[in-house]
């Protein structure tokens, strides 16, 4: 990434705009998770500061606490954040509880068109009720759960020969979930470069959303559905379909047979650590981390490559990513909207991608050079074609925590069967929807 170029570019902008002092410069605070893309956004926002005269402050919260802290902040009517890059599942609550400002009028006035953004991202990050043209956010960061692996190990002739001998197949980027597991099991406990290595790092975290985001990576490709017909909340036979049961059993087998020891409560950070310390051959994580992984001096560059979550019965990836919203409790909404207006410009979006953020703007994604602009760019487009998201209902937190509990109880704490776990999950979810008056 070219930070120096940016630094000099922004220096010029800075010099040019110091002459035109603006009236009522505001102190804006933008809240997001603390991760690589957030640092890129800080760099990017320097141009906005220079152009507008506003000052940007940032409150970045580590992922394990992000939802807790930010939802608490919104629910207490806090004025900490003027702008919030909130998780996709919060949009229902943000809209219905009046935490987010509806942006339709603003978009019309500033002629920002949602048609300029990738449809999957607009649907997931901006609309509530789902799919209606009511916008509460501008797609800020496209994301999905993907995979990366040790290319140098996969290309090592000795390892390739051993894999061939063990499985009768060639070692390659897996093309199905089962092949993924087979490769992971092959690496599990193997000696490489004098160290014992393990198969793959997957998500098993209990406290926030980790294990749900991991297990849906298996559920979706097997054909798991939340409802028999969308919008009906009719879950019996969908959530606990035979395919879903098989996928859940698969994830447990994966956890038991192909992950590093002590991998009982792991999410993004642990996955990155396991990979960067050379402990695992493969790992799942959000695309957001891929630029940083590729740049890593010890396990990046030639040693790493990426693939999209492999299909099984169908293609499917777990959606990540966020839209940027204006918080309705903010006293500085005008300046916050100014930021969104600035951020939506194609030139800024292009720079955003260059710095390591995943733009959802068509002008970036459909650029002929996009696929070759990074080794994971093509995979990203592929993944975004088949993404699915968790419930985005206002009661999403209840729904999520129920799933966290049922899945973790079964996969990590060895309680009951997969069928029982999913049956119990339907009970929990039914109770929630009854409370919501939706059933």
């Amino acid at each position: 990434m070219t930070y120096s170029k940016l630094a000099s570019a922004s220096a010029i902008v800075l010099a040019a705009t110091t002459l035109s002092t603006k009236a009522n410069a505001e102190d804006l605070t933008l809240c997001w998770a603390a991760w690589d893309p957030a640092n890129a956004l800080v760099e990017l926002s320097k141009e906005f500061e220079a152009e507008s005269g506003h000052t940007m402050n940032f409150e970045f919260v580590p992922w394990p606490n992000f939802a807790d802290r930010m939802l608490n902040e919104l629910n207490s009517g806090g004025k900490l954040c003027d702008l919030l890059i909130g998780d996709s599942q919060w949009i229902g609550g943000g809209a219905e509880n009046g935490h987010y400002v509806q942006l339709n009028e603003f978009f019309d006035a500033e002629s920002i068109s949602m048609d300029d953004f990738a449809p999957a991202t607009v649907y997931a990050y901006s609309t509530w009720p789902k799919g209606t043209p009511n916008y509460y956010a501008l797609p800020a960061m496209g994301d999905a759960n993907g995979w990366f692996y040790r290319k140098d190990w996969f290309e090592d002739p000795e390892i390739q020969a051993a894999y061939k001998e063990a499985t009768g197949q060639d070692l390659r980027e897996p093309e199905s979930q089962k092949e993924l597991l087979q490769i992971a099991q092959f690496f599990q406990g193997r000696e490489i470069e004098g160290k014992t290595v393990y198969g793959a790092a997957i998500f098993t975290e209990r406290g926030s959303e980790g294990i749900t985001m991991g297990v849906t990576g298996a559920l979706y490709p097997w054909g798991f559905k939340y409802e028999n017909t969308p919008g009906s909340y009719d879950m019996e036979g969908a959530v606990n379909s035979p395919e879903a049961v098989e996928a859940l059993e698969f994830y447990k087998e994966f956890y038991k047979t192909a992950t590093p020891p002590g991998y009982t409560n792991s999410y993004m950070g642990e996955s990155l650590d396991a990979f960067k310390s050379g402990q695992v051959a493969m790992a799942m994580n959000w695309f957001a981390f891929f630029p940083g992984l590729y740049a890593d001096p010890s396990t990046g560059g030639d040693k790493i490559d990426f693939f999209v979550n492999p299909p099984q019965n169908q293609a499917g990836s777990t959606l990540g990513g966020q839209g940027i919203s204006v918080v309705s409790y903010s006293d500085k909404q005008d300046a916050a909207l100014e930021y969104i207006k600035w951020f939506a410009q194609p030139a800024v979006q292009a720079k955003w991608w260059e710095l390591g953020g995943y733009s959802a703007h068509n002008s970036v994604l459909q650029d002929p050079g996009f696929v070759d602009s990074a080794p994971f760019a093509g995979d990203f487009l592929l993944a975004m074609n088949d993404v699915q998201d968790f419930w985005q209902e206002p009661a999403y937190a209840e729904l999520l925590l129920a799933m966290q509990k049922r899945i973790h109880d079964y996969v990590v704490a060895d309680q009951g069967t997969a069928q029982e776990a999913l049956d119990l999950l339907i009970e929990d979810w039914t109770e929630t929807f009854e409370d919501e008056g939706k059933l």
Binding site: S4, V42, P62, P64, N72, G77, G78, D273
Partner: protein, 312 residues
């Protein structure tokens, strides 16, 4: 005591007892020593296997604790030589320091809220304790028991209505809100402890003062308060330590402006996951004041932790 006293333990049993206790004390100190050591390790040393006891000490953890850093390209690094020793340390990861971290702010919040609530608890507590100690108050025992019983509520249980109350009053995530809250929690301790200390001051002193023409208020101010100074000081330290260590309310009711250090320290992250040396550095800085106070307070510890139920 004569050496023939039957209650004086023999030399041998003293030696055995001493050895056992010292062994326990040394074992119990291992985690604390480990926090201290980890703060001076590099991230690689901190997570090495087997755990390293001997290592090259570095201030990296402390630098990471107090700064935010970003990774830069080689060209940028070459063009901008390191400015100071701290910059030098982060350069080995191709990073530069771009500003202070939030730790300083959070630590100051702990100081403000800790001292604010302690001052208020002691002020109100001393008045109430004096009244309970010296005057006939109707339903005195019931009131005192009521004051104590407020300590039995799980903080998480009271947190729900307090959250709603603070939201309506605009006290969420404010220093004032947290000071009031911690005062409300600490005041039971303050009243009980201070009542015990004031009970121990002979009434004759005040009575003499009253005969000399002092008013009640003057007697309280000029006679009782100086006599109770030690008790007040140790009560204050107990209140301060409670507010300093409190986690449940802090994590539920604050998010940024008034967040104290305990909810913050466990979330200090480095490049990937938790940055253990920085966490350990933060913990060290945070724990040392309490250790010092504990050593200063050792004579009154028992009273403090039992609400004055047990005095030596």
């Amino acid at each position: 005591m004569s050496s023939f006293s039957v209650t004086e333990p023999s030399k041998r049993s003293k030696w055995v007892a001493g050895t056992l206790v010292i062994t326990y004390a040394l074992i119990t100190m291992i985690p604390l020593v480990w926090i201290l050591l980890t703060g001076f390790k590099s991230p690689a040393d901190a997570i090495s296997y087997p755990p390293k006891v001997v290592f090259d000490p570095t201030l990296e953890g402390y630098v990471n604790l107090f700064t935010t850093r970003t990774r830069q390209t080689q060209e940028f690094l070459d063009a901008n030589p390191p400015q100071n020793w701290a910059d030098d340390i982060v350069r080995q990861y191709d990073m530069v320091i771009v500003g202070p971290s939030k730790f300083g702010e959070r630590f100051m919040n702990s100081v403000i809220i800790g001292f604010g609530s302690t001052f208020l608890s002691i002020f109100l507590g001393t008045l109430a304790a004096y009244a309970f100690s010296r005057f006939k108050v109707p339903l005195k025992d019931d009131l005192l028991f009521f004051i104590l019983s407020t300590r039995m509520m799980p903080p998480v249980a009271v947190a729900i209505p307090i959250f709603l109350m603070f939201r309506n009053l605009g006290l969420s995530d404010t220093h004032l809100g947290m000071i009031l809250l911690y005062t409300g929690v600490n005041i039971s301790l303050a009243v009980w402890l201070l009542k015990g200390f004031i009970d121990e001051i002979p009434r004759e002193y005040e009575e003499a003062a009253l005969i000399d023409g002092y008013t009640r208020f003057q007697a309280f101010y000029k006679v009782v308060l100086p006599q109770a100074a030690t008790g007040i000081a140790s009560t204050a330290i107990f209140c301060l330590i409670f507010a300093w260590n409190e986690y449940a309310f802090a994590v539920l009711l604050t998010s940024a402006t008034a967040q104290t250090a305990p909810p913050f320290i466990p979330t200090i992250i480095g490049v990937g996951g938790l940055d253990w040396p920085a966490v350990a550095a933060g913990a060290t800085i945070f724990l040392i004041p309490v250790m010092v106070f504990t050593i200063l307070m050792r004579k009154h510890l028992l009273r403090g932790i039992t609400f004055g139920a047990v005095r030596k």
